[in-house]
Amino acid sequence: MKTRRRWIILISLVLFSMMFYLFFWMLTTPYDLFPSDPVRAEKMREAIFNIISRRSIQMLAMIISAILISSTSLVFQTMTQNRILTPSLIGFDAIFISVQTTIVFFLSSSSIFFVNPYLNFLVSAGLMIVVSLALYRLILKKNKNNIIFLLLVGMVLSTLSRSFASFLQTVMDPDEFQSLTIRTEVSITNMNLSIIWLALPLMIIIIYLLMKDYREYDVMTLGEHNAIGLGVRYAKKMNTSLIYMALAMSISTALIGPISFLGLISVNAAREMLKDYKHLPLFLASSMITVIFLVLGQGIIAETGYLTTVTVLISMVGGIYMIYLILKENKA
């Protein structure tokens, strides 16, 4: 009974934040939305329609990313047996930026791989998957499931690619650099909406693949030995999940840029709320919490005249929450 009430609260909060993001600006706008003059009324209706349709697409992008971020974080925490890690630590954003920089540097910004958003996304996502596959081959195969090592190597790799990208950026032509920033400075206030119709079906496929065997993840929470004993093909499961994760991270990074602590907060908040270990309800709840965070947060920040950005806010809240988690976990 109690959990049902919590679900109702969650769903209504999600609906509220969506409504808030789409319509709240109407209440605070200084313009008269329903002028009596029929010509102006026609124009105004057009404007309102434009704003709402633009905001719906932005919201769709946020929802896609929210679902991807929370599902990957959830699975990642199960695989690492650790509640404080998120896959964003591997530093896919750095790899993304260096792929973009490399394309522009060697093929110029008028290259089809840069101009066409779909092709560009396919190339960068493909390369990210290749990189992560190489990492897994190199580390996980030799070192049975040592995902913590993977994380460390990923972090070093991200510094490497960031330095490499900055190096190319300093020596490249200034005009080329200008066009490069369109792709590299993606954030939640500057979303890359051109790939959204590719991202949506991809997201559905990934989530289906990731979540169709959600019960295996439930078993995996028992630890590697128990899971293998109970018939889970642990290593294979790990490898495939990591590939889906790489794809998911590349989509969300390309859409709304990197947001470091978001997965950590929402998954842990979902755990606290449901007091459950099963992955299906956790996945649903954490996705909803992420949507609330992103959409409502962005709505409020847009209302307050962009006082700060959602990314900064989430890093701050998330960091404090992480410290709280560490201290609490060790008290018990």
Partner: protein, 325 residues
Amino acid sequence: MKLKKIFSHRRFFLIIIFLILVIASLSVGILDVSLSDLIRFDQDAWNVIWISRLPRTIAIILTASSLSIAGLIMQAISRNKFISPSTAGTTNAAILGVLIGYLIMGNQPVIIRSIFAFVFAMVSTLFFMLMLKRIKFKNVIYVPLIGMMYGAMISSVATFIAHRYNALQFLNTIGIGGFSNKAVGSYELLYVVVPAMIIALIYATRFSIVGMGEDFAKNLGVSYGVVISVGLFVIALISSVTFVMVGILPFVGLIVPNLVTHYYGDHVKKTIVDIALFGSSFVLLNDILSRLIVFPYEISISFTMGVTGAIIFLILIIRRMRYEN
């Protein structure tokens, strides 16, 4: 006896390399300074050396050796090979300190900037160490991950404040430095790290003992709290001053101690000189590289260090993994 011979042999080798790199660093530059000019005591040639080349080389040596030592101390007292000022939020706290100092007092001389950076770095490192003490499950890699997330949180606070007070542009300039502008009159503050290094040398043995644990240290009559505080003071001083003066040098505090202790063992007192030598050679080499790649221009040393350091670090990790297998 034989072991000792190899040991001194290695150090001799290191000194030779170090000297060669110093000479190379003195001779790379846009103005032509030939050996015959120097022998003839040509005034212009000597001026180039005194005013620009030598300060730059000294700045590199001071920064590199002190940062490597800071990393060594941090790794010794936290008993973790993957911790360094850059993976424990110390650098991020220094950035926050510089920002706050700027907001309170406007543009100020480097010395006041350094004080702000120092205070913040000290407090934040202290907090991090206290947090570490409460973590029971101390996985070697888990701890620096927490450190990096902690650093990310401090950075986000800095971004938040900067955004609020219109100082984002200033925030982006903090930590961008390098050695290219170091000449007479702009590098002297770096000498502050010399006393810090001397303190480190005096306390070297005690740092190793503290690394063996609180109870063990107390049994040996070492005051745990005092030694830890001295260590934190040295780390915060070195990392804040070098940060304000030259900016971020990725991986120095992480890789150099790791490589050297790999060959010489963990006894701080025995390795501290070699670490200083090795660190200086490493950064000198990188600096020369970054001056030569796009000669007559130069690229920022943090990029070069990021690339070479990352590659070395990857090799280290992979080797360690093989060993663990």
